[in-house]
Symmetry: C2
Subunit: 301 residues, 2 copies
Protein backbone atom coordinates (compact mmCIF):
# COMPACT_ATOMS: atom_id res chain seq x y z
CA UNK A 1 0.00 0.00 0.00
CA UNK A 2 1.13 3.53 -0.67
CA UNK A 3 0.82 6.42 1.75
CA UNK A 4 -2.79 7.66 2.02
CA UNK A 5 -3.76 10.97 0.40
CA UNK A 6 -5.84 11.92 3.42
CA UNK A 7 -5.77 11.00 7.10
CA UNK A 8 -8.71 10.94 9.49
CA UNK A 9 -7.50 12.25 12.83
CA UNK A 10 -9.25 10.94 15.93
CA UNK A 11 -8.89 13.73 18.48
CA UNK A 12 -8.61 12.16 21.92
CA UNK A 13 -7.68 15.23 23.95
CA UNK A 14 -11.04 15.76 25.68
CA UNK A 15 -11.04 12.14 26.93
CA UNK A 16 -7.66 10.37 26.94
CA UNK A 17 -5.96 13.72 27.43
CA UNK A 18 -8.04 15.36 30.16
CA UNK A 19 -8.46 12.04 31.97
CA UNK A 20 -4.72 12.06 32.64
CA UNK A 21 -4.37 15.71 33.59
CA UNK A 22 -4.04 16.48 37.29
CA UNK A 23 -6.03 19.72 36.99
CA UNK A 24 -9.83 19.90 37.31
CA UNK A 25 -11.60 21.11 34.18
CA UNK A 26 -15.16 22.44 34.54
CA UNK A 27 -17.89 21.36 32.11
CA UNK A 28 -17.91 24.72 30.35
CA UNK A 29 -14.20 24.44 29.50
CA UNK A 30 -14.64 20.91 28.16
CA UNK A 31 -17.59 22.02 26.03
CA UNK A 32 -15.61 24.99 24.71
CA UNK A 33 -12.69 22.67 23.89
CA UNK A 34 -14.84 20.17 22.00
CA UNK A 35 -16.64 22.90 20.07
CA UNK A 36 -13.34 24.58 19.21
CA UNK A 37 -11.91 21.28 17.96
CA UNK A 38 -14.95 20.74 15.74
CA UNK A 39 -14.55 24.33 14.55
CA UNK A 40 -10.94 23.56 13.62
CA UNK A 41 -12.18 20.82 11.30
CA UNK A 42 -11.79 17.64 13.35
CA UNK A 43 -14.41 15.07 12.41
CA UNK A 44 -13.99 12.61 15.29
CA UNK A 45 -13.64 13.98 18.82
CA UNK A 46 -13.56 11.55 21.71
CA UNK A 47 -15.60 13.48 24.21
CA UNK A 48 -15.81 11.51 27.42
CA UNK A 49 -16.18 8.22 29.19
CA UNK A 50 -19.09 6.51 30.94
CA UNK A 51 -17.03 4.72 33.57
CA UNK A 52 -17.42 4.73 37.32
CA UNK A 53 -16.63 8.21 38.68
CA UNK A 54 -14.87 6.32 41.48
CA UNK A 55 -12.21 5.19 38.99
CA UNK A 56 -12.12 8.19 36.67
CA UNK A 57 -13.48 11.28 38.46
CA UNK A 58 -12.34 13.55 35.60
CA UNK A 59 -15.00 12.01 33.33
CA UNK A 60 -17.92 12.07 35.79
CA UNK A 61 -19.50 14.96 33.88
CA UNK A 62 -19.58 13.30 30.46
CA UNK A 63 -23.40 13.37 30.19
CA UNK A 64 -23.44 17.10 30.93
CA UNK A 65 -20.67 17.73 28.42
CA UNK A 66 -22.51 15.81 25.71
CA UNK A 67 -25.71 17.70 26.48
CA UNK A 68 -24.05 21.08 26.09
CA UNK A 69 -21.79 20.70 23.05
CA UNK A 70 -22.88 22.15 19.74
CA UNK A 71 -23.19 18.95 17.70
CA UNK A 72 -22.06 19.52 14.15
CA UNK A 73 -23.27 17.68 11.10
CA UNK A 74 -20.61 15.19 10.01
CA UNK A 75 -18.74 15.19 13.32
CA UNK A 76 -18.69 12.17 15.65
CA UNK A 77 -18.34 12.51 19.41
CA UNK A 78 -17.52 8.98 20.65
CA UNK A 79 -17.24 8.03 24.31
CA UNK A 80 -15.68 5.11 26.18
CA UNK A 81 -18.12 2.52 27.50
CA UNK A 82 -16.55 -0.32 29.48
CA UNK A 83 -19.83 -2.09 30.22
CA UNK A 84 -23.57 -2.22 29.53
CA UNK A 85 -24.36 0.41 32.12
CA UNK A 86 -21.92 2.77 30.42
CA UNK A 87 -23.40 2.02 27.03
CA UNK A 88 -26.93 2.68 28.29
CA UNK A 89 -25.83 6.08 29.60
CA UNK A 90 -24.11 6.76 26.28
CA UNK A 91 -27.29 5.85 24.39
CA UNK A 92 -29.28 8.17 26.65
CA UNK A 93 -26.82 10.91 25.70
CA UNK A 94 -27.46 10.29 22.01
CA UNK A 95 -23.96 9.25 20.94
CA UNK A 96 -23.41 7.70 17.52
CA UNK A 97 -20.19 5.88 18.46
CA UNK A 98 -18.63 4.27 21.53
CA UNK A 99 -15.33 2.58 22.30
CA UNK A 100 -14.24 -0.48 24.25
CA UNK A 101 -10.69 -1.31 25.30
CA UNK A 102 -8.58 -4.39 25.79
CA UNK A 103 -4.88 -4.92 26.41
CA UNK A 104 -2.39 -6.96 24.41
CA UNK A 105 -0.52 -7.66 27.66
CA UNK A 106 -1.87 -10.14 30.22
CA UNK A 107 0.09 -8.41 32.99
CA UNK A 108 -1.44 -5.04 32.08
CA UNK A 109 -4.96 -6.49 31.84
CA UNK A 110 -4.58 -8.10 35.27
CA UNK A 111 -3.23 -4.93 36.92
CA UNK A 112 -5.41 -2.45 35.10
CA UNK A 113 -8.82 -4.08 34.76
CA UNK A 114 -8.38 -7.02 37.08
CA UNK A 115 -9.11 -9.81 34.60
CA UNK A 116 -7.49 -11.78 31.81
CA UNK A 117 -7.58 -10.48 28.24
CA UNK A 118 -10.07 -13.23 27.33
CA UNK A 119 -12.33 -12.26 30.24
CA UNK A 120 -12.21 -8.59 29.22
CA UNK A 121 -13.32 -9.52 25.71
CA UNK A 122 -16.15 -11.68 27.09
CA UNK A 123 -17.36 -8.75 29.19
CA UNK A 124 -17.55 -6.56 26.09
CA UNK A 125 -19.76 -9.02 24.14
CA UNK A 126 -23.09 -7.69 25.49
CA UNK A 127 -21.90 -4.10 24.91
CA UNK A 128 -21.18 -4.92 21.27
CA UNK A 129 -24.52 -6.73 20.94
CA UNK A 130 -26.57 -3.83 22.31
CA UNK A 131 -24.58 -1.29 20.28
CA UNK A 132 -25.24 -3.28 17.10
CA UNK A 133 -28.96 -3.48 17.92
CA UNK A 134 -28.99 0.30 18.38
CA UNK A 135 -26.98 1.07 15.24
CA UNK A 136 -24.10 2.50 17.25
CA UNK A 137 -20.58 2.12 15.85
CA UNK A 138 -18.00 0.59 18.19
CA UNK A 139 -14.28 1.27 18.10
CA UNK A 140 -11.84 -1.06 19.84
CA UNK A 141 -8.67 0.03 21.58
CA UNK A 142 -5.75 -2.29 22.17
CA UNK A 143 -3.22 -1.06 24.71
CA UNK A 144 0.44 -2.02 25.20
CA UNK A 145 0.91 -2.92 21.52
CA UNK A 146 4.63 -2.12 21.60
CA UNK A 147 5.47 -2.81 25.22
CA UNK A 148 3.99 -3.09 28.70
CA UNK A 149 4.96 -1.29 31.91
CA UNK A 150 4.65 -4.59 33.81
CA UNK A 151 5.72 -7.40 31.48
CA UNK A 152 8.02 -5.52 29.09
CA UNK A 153 7.90 -7.14 25.65
CA UNK A 154 4.49 -7.85 24.09
CA UNK A 155 4.35 -10.39 21.24
CA UNK A 156 3.02 -9.03 17.94
CA UNK A 157 0.98 -12.24 17.63
CA UNK A 158 -0.93 -11.26 20.77
CA UNK A 159 -1.70 -7.80 19.36
CA UNK A 160 -3.01 -9.43 16.18
CA UNK A 161 -5.09 -11.94 18.16
CA UNK A 162 -6.77 -9.27 20.32
CA UNK A 163 -7.34 -7.03 17.29
CA UNK A 164 -8.96 -9.88 15.40
CA UNK A 165 -11.16 -10.71 18.37
CA UNK A 166 -12.37 -7.10 18.60
CA UNK A 167 -13.24 -7.06 14.89
CA UNK A 168 -14.93 -10.46 15.16
CA UNK A 169 -17.08 -9.04 17.99
CA UNK A 170 -18.16 -6.15 15.79
CA UNK A 171 -15.65 -3.31 16.19
CA UNK A 172 -15.46 -1.35 12.93
CA UNK A 173 -11.91 -0.22 13.70
CA UNK A 174 -9.08 -1.09 16.07
CA UNK A 175 -6.80 1.59 17.48
CA UNK A 176 -3.32 0.30 18.32
CA UNK A 177 -2.07 1.97 21.48
CA UNK A 178 1.60 2.31 22.31
CA UNK A 179 0.50 3.07 25.85
CA UNK A 180 3.97 3.73 27.26
CA UNK A 181 5.43 5.22 24.07
CA UNK A 182 8.42 2.88 23.86
CA UNK A 183 8.06 1.98 20.18
CA UNK A 184 10.45 2.94 17.41
CA UNK A 185 9.63 3.15 13.69
CA UNK A 186 10.58 -0.32 12.42
CA UNK A 187 8.91 -2.10 15.32
CA UNK A 188 5.81 0.10 15.07
CA UNK A 189 5.56 -0.57 11.34
CA UNK A 190 6.07 -4.33 11.68
CA UNK A 191 3.39 -4.53 14.39
CA UNK A 192 0.92 -2.36 12.45
CA UNK A 193 1.58 -4.33 9.25
CA UNK A 194 0.86 -7.62 11.03
CA UNK A 195 -2.44 -6.27 12.35
CA UNK A 196 -3.43 -4.67 9.04
CA UNK A 197 -2.64 -7.92 7.21
CA UNK A 198 -5.21 -9.67 9.43
CA UNK A 199 -8.00 -7.15 9.96
CA UNK A 200 -7.49 -4.91 6.92
CA UNK A 201 -5.67 -1.63 6.65
CA UNK A 202 -8.96 0.33 6.61
CA UNK A 203 -9.79 -1.04 10.07
CA UNK A 204 -6.38 -0.23 11.53
CA UNK A 205 -5.73 2.99 13.46
CA UNK A 206 -2.59 4.27 15.23
CA UNK A 207 -2.53 5.60 18.78
CA UNK A 208 1.11 6.31 19.56
CA UNK A 209 2.25 8.05 22.71
CA UNK A 210 5.25 10.35 22.63
CA UNK A 211 6.88 9.35 25.91
CA UNK A 212 10.25 8.75 24.24
CA UNK A 213 9.82 11.34 21.47
CA UNK A 214 9.17 8.72 18.79
CA UNK A 215 5.45 9.11 18.03
CA UNK A 216 5.77 11.32 14.97
CA UNK A 217 8.43 9.08 13.42
CA UNK A 218 6.35 5.99 14.21
CA UNK A 219 3.33 7.51 12.49
CA UNK A 220 5.46 8.43 9.46
CA UNK A 221 6.70 4.84 9.18
CA UNK A 222 3.18 3.40 9.42
CA UNK A 223 1.67 5.80 6.87
CA UNK A 224 3.60 3.85 4.24
CA UNK A 225 1.35 0.87 5.00
CA UNK A 226 -1.64 2.88 3.84
CA UNK A 227 -3.01 3.35 7.36
CA UNK A 228 -5.19 6.45 7.26
CA UNK A 229 -6.50 6.89 10.81
CA UNK A 230 -4.33 8.40 13.53
CA UNK A 231 -5.20 9.36 17.12
CA UNK A 232 -3.72 12.47 18.73
CA UNK A 233 -4.51 14.94 21.51
CA UNK A 234 -4.50 18.69 21.06
CA UNK A 235 -1.67 20.36 23.02
CA UNK A 236 -0.40 16.86 23.86
CA UNK A 237 -3.04 16.76 26.63
CA UNK A 238 -2.55 14.02 29.20
CA UNK A 239 0.73 12.83 30.59
CA UNK A 240 1.91 9.27 30.92
CA UNK A 241 0.15 7.59 33.87
CA UNK A 242 3.00 5.07 34.04
CA UNK A 243 5.77 7.66 34.28
CA UNK A 244 4.83 10.85 36.12
CA UNK A 245 6.26 13.92 34.39
CA UNK A 246 6.75 12.14 31.07
CA UNK A 247 4.89 12.93 27.84
CA UNK A 248 1.76 11.11 26.77
CA UNK A 249 -0.28 11.63 23.64
CA UNK A 250 1.18 12.81 20.38
CA UNK A 251 0.18 16.48 19.99
CA UNK A 252 -2.42 16.91 17.25
CA UNK A 253 -0.74 20.16 16.15
CA UNK A 254 2.55 18.37 15.48
CA UNK A 255 0.77 15.60 13.57
CA UNK A 256 -1.20 18.07 11.44
CA UNK A 257 1.99 20.04 10.73
CA UNK A 258 3.71 16.91 9.43
CA UNK A 259 0.72 15.79 7.37
CA UNK A 260 0.35 19.30 5.90
CA UNK A 261 4.02 19.19 4.92
CA UNK A 262 3.61 15.75 3.36
CA UNK A 263 0.63 16.97 1.34
CA UNK A 264 -1.68 14.54 3.17
CA UNK A 265 -5.10 16.11 3.71
CA UNK A 266 -6.62 16.28 7.20
CA UNK A 267 -9.27 18.99 6.84
CA UNK A 268 -7.87 20.59 9.99
CA UNK A 269 -7.00 24.29 10.27
CA UNK A 270 -3.71 24.36 12.18
CA UNK A 271 -4.11 27.88 13.56
CA UNK A 272 -7.60 27.20 14.91
CA UNK A 273 -6.41 23.88 16.33
CA UNK A 274 -3.51 25.59 18.10
CA UNK A 275 -5.89 28.21 19.49
CA UNK A 276 -8.06 25.42 20.95
CA UNK A 277 -4.94 23.94 22.57
CA UNK A 278 -3.89 27.29 24.03
CA UNK A 279 -7.34 27.83 25.54
CA UNK A 280 -7.57 24.45 27.28
CA UNK A 281 -3.98 24.54 28.55
CA UNK A 282 -4.59 28.06 29.88
CA UNK A 283 -7.55 26.59 31.79
CA UNK A 284 -5.21 23.90 33.13
CA UNK A 285 -2.61 26.50 34.07
CA UNK A 286 0.14 25.19 31.83
CA UNK A 287 1.62 25.57 28.34
CA UNK A 288 0.72 23.36 25.37
CA UNK A 289 2.95 20.26 25.11
CA UNK A 290 3.15 20.72 21.36
CA UNK A 291 6.31 22.01 19.69
CA UNK A 292 4.23 23.50 16.87
CA UNK A 293 2.08 25.34 19.42
CA UNK A 294 5.21 26.61 21.18
CA UNK A 295 6.78 27.74 17.92
CA UNK A 296 3.61 29.52 16.76
CA UNK A 297 3.31 31.25 20.15
CA UNK A 298 6.98 32.26 20.04
CA UNK A 299 6.58 33.72 16.54
CA UNK A 300 3.42 35.59 17.54
CA UNK A 301 5.03 36.88 20.74
CA UNK B 1 21.11 3.51 -0.90
CA UNK B 2 19.86 1.52 2.05
CA UNK B 3 19.72 2.73 5.62
CA UNK B 4 23.20 2.76 7.21
CA UNK B 5 24.10 0.11 9.80
CA UNK B 6 25.80 2.71 11.97
CA UNK B 7 25.44 6.45 12.44
CA UNK B 8 28.13 8.88 13.53
CA UNK B 9 26.51 11.42 15.83
CA UNK B 10 28.04 14.89 15.90
CA UNK B 11 27.24 16.21 19.37
CA UNK B 12 26.74 19.97 19.12
CA UNK B 13 25.40 20.65 22.62
CA UNK B 14 28.54 22.30 24.06
CA UNK B 15 28.66 24.77 21.14
CA UNK B 16 25.43 25.21 19.17
CA UNK B 17 23.47 24.33 22.29
CA UNK B 18 25.15 26.40 25.00
CA UNK B 19 25.62 29.33 22.62
CA UNK B 20 21.84 29.69 22.49
CA UNK B 21 21.15 29.21 26.19
CA UNK B 22 20.39 32.34 28.19
CA UNK B 23 22.19 31.01 31.27
CA UNK B 24 25.91 31.48 31.95
CA UNK B 25 27.90 28.25 32.12
CA UNK B 26 31.32 28.34 33.84
CA UNK B 27 34.34 26.67 32.24
CA UNK B 28 34.29 23.79 34.72
CA UNK B 29 30.71 22.85 33.80
CA UNK B 30 31.52 22.95 30.08
CA UNK B 31 34.58 20.75 30.63
CA UNK B 32 32.55 18.30 32.71
CA UNK B 33 29.89 18.20 29.98
CA UNK B 34 32.37 17.51 27.20
CA UNK B 35 34.17 14.83 29.21
CA UNK B 36 30.86 13.20 30.15
CA UNK B 37 29.78 13.16 26.49
CA UNK B 38 33.05 11.49 25.49
CA UNK B 39 32.53 9.05 28.36
CA UNK B 40 29.09 8.23 26.95
CA UNK B 41 30.74 7.17 23.70
CA UNK B 42 30.36 10.20 21.44
CA UNK B 43 33.23 10.47 18.98
CA UNK B 44 32.69 14.01 17.68
CA UNK B 45 31.91 16.75 20.19
CA UNK B 46 31.71 20.31 18.95
CA UNK B 47 33.36 22.08 21.85
CA UNK B 48 33.38 25.79 21.21
CA UNK B 49 33.82 28.65 18.83
CA UNK B 50 36.64 31.11 18.15
CA UNK B 51 34.46 34.06 17.25
CA UNK B 52 34.48 37.56 18.62
CA UNK B 53 33.31 37.51 22.26
CA UNK B 54 31.43 40.67 21.35
CA UNK B 55 29.11 38.59 19.16
CA UNK B 56 29.04 35.33 21.08
CA UNK B 57 29.99 35.95 24.72
CA UNK B 58 29.00 32.40 25.69
CA UNK B 59 31.96 31.01 23.71
CA UNK B 60 34.63 33.49 24.94
CA UNK B 61 36.20 30.77 27.08
CA UNK B 62 36.71 28.18 24.32
CA UNK B 63 40.52 28.17 24.66
CA UNK B 64 40.25 27.50 28.39
CA UNK B 65 37.69 24.75 27.81
CA UNK B 66 39.91 23.06 25.22
CA UNK B 67 42.90 23.30 27.57
CA UNK B 68 41.05 21.59 30.39
CA UNK B 69 39.13 18.75 28.73
CA UNK B 70 40.45 15.22 29.01
CA UNK B 71 41.17 14.52 25.34
CA UNK B 72 40.36 10.95 24.49
CA UNK B 73 41.98 8.88 21.77
CA UNK B 74 39.60 8.60 18.83
CA UNK B 75 37.42 11.55 19.83
CA UNK B 76 37.36 14.81 17.87
CA UNK B 77 36.62 18.16 19.49
CA UNK B 78 35.91 20.53 16.57
CA UNK B 79 35.36 24.27 16.99
CA UNK B 80 33.81 26.96 14.81
CA UNK B 81 36.28 29.31 13.11
CA UNK B 82 34.71 32.08 11.01
CA UNK B 83 38.02 33.62 9.98
CA UNK B 84 41.82 33.30 9.97
CA UNK B 85 42.16 34.77 13.42
CA UNK B 86 39.75 32.17 14.77
CA UNK B 87 41.61 29.40 12.99
CA UNK B 88 44.93 30.56 14.41
CA UNK B 89 43.50 30.47 17.92
CA UNK B 90 42.07 27.01 17.20
CA UNK B 91 45.47 25.81 15.98
CA UNK B 92 47.07 27.18 19.13
CA UNK B 93 44.52 25.13 21.11
CA UNK B 94 45.57 21.98 19.26
CA UNK B 95 42.27 21.13 17.57
CA UNK B 96 42.14 18.49 14.84
CA UNK B 97 38.99 19.82 13.18
CA UNK B 98 37.26 23.16 12.62
CA UNK B 99 34.01 24.27 11.02
CA UNK B 100 32.95 27.13 8.78
CA UNK B 101 29.38 28.18 8.05
CA UNK B 102 27.43 29.63 5.16
CA UNK B 103 23.74 30.15 4.52
CA UNK B 104 21.60 28.88 1.68
CA UNK B 105 19.49 32.02 2.01
CA UNK B 106 20.74 35.40 0.79
CA UNK B 107 18.40 37.19 3.19
CA UNK B 108 19.78 35.22 6.13
CA UNK B 109 23.39 35.77 5.05
CA UNK B 110 22.78 39.50 4.75
CA UNK B 111 21.08 39.79 8.13
CA UNK B 112 23.25 37.33 10.01
CA UNK B 113 26.79 37.85 8.70
CA UNK B 114 26.30 41.07 6.76
CA UNK B 115 27.48 39.82 3.36
CA UNK B 116 26.29 37.85 0.36
CA UNK B 117 26.62 34.07 0.30
CA UNK B 118 29.36 34.41 -2.33
CA UNK B 119 31.26 36.89 -0.16
CA UNK B 120 31.01 34.59 2.86
CA UNK B 121 32.51 31.75 0.85
CA UNK B 122 35.31 34.01 -0.39
CA UNK B 123 36.11 34.96 3.20
CA UNK B 124 36.48 31.29 4.14
CA UNK B 125 38.99 30.55 1.37
CA UNK B 126 42.09 31.54 3.40
CA UNK B 127 40.71 29.58 6.41
CA UNK B 128 40.42 26.46 4.26
CA UNK B 129 43.89 27.04 2.79
CA UNK B 130 45.59 27.39 6.16
CA UNK B 131 43.65 24.42 7.60
CA UNK B 132 44.76 22.26 4.68
CA UNK B 133 48.38 23.32 5.16
CA UNK B 134 48.12 22.37 8.84
CA UNK B 135 46.37 19.04 8.24
CA UNK B 136 43.23 20.19 10.00
CA UNK B 137 39.89 18.82 8.79
CA UNK B 138 37.20 21.38 7.95
CA UNK B 139 33.48 20.79 8.19
CA UNK B 140 31.03 23.10 6.43
CA UNK B 141 27.63 24.10 7.75
CA UNK B 142 24.84 25.31 5.52
CA UNK B 143 22.00 27.04 7.35
CA UNK B 144 18.37 27.60 6.28
CA UNK B 145 18.33 24.49 4.06
CA UNK B 146 14.56 24.03 4.48
CA UNK B 147 13.44 27.58 5.07
CA UNK B 148 14.60 31.01 6.21
CA UNK B 149 13.20 33.26 8.93
CA UNK B 150 13.56 36.26 6.59
CA UNK B 151 12.90 35.07 3.04
CA UNK B 152 10.72 31.99 3.69
CA UNK B 153 11.27 29.41 0.95
CA UNK B 154 14.85 28.45 0.07
CA UNK B 155 15.44 26.75 -3.30
CA UNK B 156 17.00 23.29 -3.10
CA UNK B 157 19.27 24.31 -5.98
CA UNK B 158 20.79 26.98 -3.75
CA UNK B 159 21.46 24.45 -0.98
CA UNK B 160 23.17 22.19 -3.51
CA UNK B 161 25.23 25.09 -4.92
CA UNK B 162 26.51 26.21 -1.51
CA UNK B 163 27.22 22.62 -0.46
CA UNK B 164 29.19 22.02 -3.64
CA UNK B 165 31.14 25.23 -3.12
CA UNK B 166 32.08 24.20 0.42
CA UNK B 167 33.30 20.81 -0.79
CA UNK B 168 35.20 22.42 -3.67
CA UNK B 169 36.95 24.66 -1.14
CA UNK B 170 38.05 21.63 0.87
CA UNK B 171 35.31 20.78 3.39
CA UNK B 172 35.31 17.03 4.03
CA UNK B 173 31.65 17.10 5.00
CA UNK B 174 28.65 19.43 4.76
CA UNK B 175 26.08 19.60 7.55
CA UNK B 176 22.63 20.62 6.31
CA UNK B 177 20.97 22.86 8.88
CA UNK B 178 17.22 23.27 9.13
CA UNK B 179 17.91 26.35 11.22
CA UNK B 180 14.29 27.17 12.01
CA UNK B 181 13.05 23.58 12.10
CA UNK B 182 10.28 24.03 9.55
CA UNK B 183 11.05 20.96 7.44
CA UNK B 184 8.85 17.90 7.09
CA UNK B 185 10.02 14.42 6.03
CA UNK B 186 9.44 14.46 2.26
CA UNK B 187 10.93 17.91 1.82
CA UNK B 188 13.89 17.07 4.05
CA UNK B 189 14.55 13.89 2.13
CA UNK B 190 14.26 15.55 -1.29
CA UNK B 191 16.67 18.30 -0.22
CA UNK B 192 19.18 15.86 1.31
CA UNK B 193 18.96 13.60 -1.73
CA UNK B 194 19.72 16.49 -4.07
CA UNK B 195 22.77 17.45 -2.03
CA UNK B 196 23.98 13.84 -1.63
CA UNK B 197 23.59 13.29 -5.38
CA UNK B 198 26.03 16.14 -5.96
CA UNK B 199 28.60 15.90 -3.17
CA UNK B 200 28.24 12.24 -2.22
CA UNK B 201 26.23 10.66 0.55
CA UNK B 202 29.37 10.12 2.67
CA UNK B 203 29.95 13.89 2.74
CA UNK B 204 26.37 14.71 3.68
CA UNK B 205 25.31 15.28 7.29
CA UNK B 206 21.95 16.25 8.81
CA UNK B 207 21.43 19.05 11.32
CA UNK B 208 17.70 19.28 11.90
CA UNK B 209 16.15 21.50 14.54
CA UNK B 210 13.03 20.36 16.35
CA UNK B 211 11.16 23.67 16.45
CA UNK B 212 8.01 22.11 14.96
CA UNK B 213 8.53 18.62 16.42
CA UNK B 214 9.61 17.14 13.08
CA UNK B 215 13.35 16.53 13.53
CA UNK B 216 13.20 12.85 14.45
CA UNK B 217 10.84 12.07 11.55
CA UNK B 218 13.03 14.08 9.18
CA UNK B 219 16.11 12.12 10.26
CA UNK B 220 14.22 8.85 9.81
CA UNK B 221 13.26 9.81 6.26
CA UNK B 222 16.84 10.80 5.35
CA UNK B 223 18.41 7.66 6.81
CA UNK B 224 16.88 5.80 3.86
CA UNK B 225 19.23 7.75 1.59
CA UNK B 226 22.19 6.14 3.33
CA UNK B 227 23.18 9.32 5.16
CA UNK B 228 25.16 8.24 8.21
CA UNK B 229 26.08 11.46 10.03
CA UNK B 230 23.55 13.28 12.20
CA UNK B 231 24.01 16.31 14.47
CA UNK B 232 22.18 16.56 17.79
CA UNK B 233 22.52 18.29 21.16
CA UNK B 234 22.30 16.48 24.48
CA UNK B 235 19.19 17.51 26.46
CA UNK B 236 18.09 19.49 23.39
CA UNK B 237 20.43 22.27 24.55
CA UNK B 238 19.88 25.62 22.90
CA UNK B 239 16.57 27.12 21.96
CA UNK B 240 15.62 28.68 18.67
CA UNK B 241 17.19 32.14 18.35
CA UNK B 242 14.52 33.05 15.77
CA UNK B 243 11.56 32.11 18.00
CA UNK B 244 12.08 32.73 21.72
CA UNK B 245 10.62 29.90 23.79
CA UNK B 246 10.59 27.42 20.90
CA UNK B 247 12.69 24.27 20.66
CA UNK B 248 16.03 24.15 18.91
CA UNK B 249 18.32 21.20 18.45
CA UNK B 250 17.12 17.63 18.22
CA UNK B 251 17.91 16.01 21.59
CA UNK B 252 20.72 13.48 21.26
CA UNK B 253 18.97 11.15 23.71
CA UNK B 254 15.86 10.96 21.49
CA UNK B 255 18.01 10.33 18.40
CA UNK B 256 20.01 7.57 20.12
CA UNK B 257 16.78 5.99 21.39
CA UNK B 258 15.40 5.81 17.83
CA UNK B 259 18.64 4.51 16.34
CA UNK B 260 18.93 1.88 19.11
CA UNK B 261 15.39 0.76 18.30
CA UNK B 262 16.18 0.61 14.58
CA UNK B 263 19.25 -1.50 15.27
CA UNK B 264 21.52 1.24 13.92
CA UNK B 265 24.76 1.39 15.90
CA UNK B 266 25.91 4.65 17.45
CA UNK B 267 28.41 3.51 20.09
CA UNK B 268 26.60 5.76 22.58
CA UNK B 269 25.45 4.60 26.03
CA UNK B 270 22.01 6.13 26.47
CA UNK B 271 22.04 6.16 30.29
CA UNK B 272 25.43 7.89 30.47
CA UNK B 273 24.31 10.34 27.78
CA UNK B 274 21.13 11.16 29.72
CA UNK B 275 23.19 11.64 32.88
CA UNK B 276 25.39 14.16 31.04
CA UNK B 277 22.25 15.99 29.94
CA UNK B 278 20.84 16.05 33.46
CA UNK B 279 24.07 17.49 34.84
CA UNK B 280 24.35 20.36 32.36
CA UNK B 281 20.65 21.27 32.55
CA UNK B 282 20.89 21.26 36.35
CA UNK B 283 23.76 23.76 35.96
CA UNK B 284 21.48 25.84 33.72
CA UNK B 285 18.63 25.60 36.21
CA UNK B 286 16.21 23.81 33.92
CA UNK B 287 15.05 20.32 32.89
CA UNK B 288 16.37 18.45 29.85
CA UNK B 289 14.40 19.19 26.66
CA UNK B 290 14.54 15.52 25.72
CA UNK B 291 11.49 13.28 26.01
CA UNK B 292 13.72 10.26 26.58
CA UNK B 293 15.49 12.09 29.42
CA UNK B 294 12.13 13.06 30.93
CA UNK B 295 10.81 9.50 30.65
CA UNK B 296 13.96 8.00 32.20
CA UNK B 297 13.80 10.51 35.04
CA UNK B 298 10.10 9.80 35.59
CA UNK B 299 10.75 6.05 35.72
CA UNK B 300 13.64 6.51 38.13
CA UNK B 301 11.58 8.87 40.31
Amino acid sequence: MARPTSVRIVEVGPRDGLQNEPGFVPVAAKVALIDALAGAGLKVIESGSFVSPKWVPQMADTAEVLAQIDRREGVRYPVLTPNLKGLELAIASGVEEVAVFAAASEAFSARNINCTIAESLTRFAPVLDLARAQGIAVRGYVSCVLGCPYQGEVPVAKVVEVSQALVAMGCYEVSLGDTIGVGTPDKAKAMARAVADHIGVQRTALHFHDTYGQAIANVLACLDLGIATVDAAVAGLGGCPYAKGASGNLATEDLVYMLDGLGVETGVDLDRLAAAGRAITAALGRSPASKVAQALAAKAG
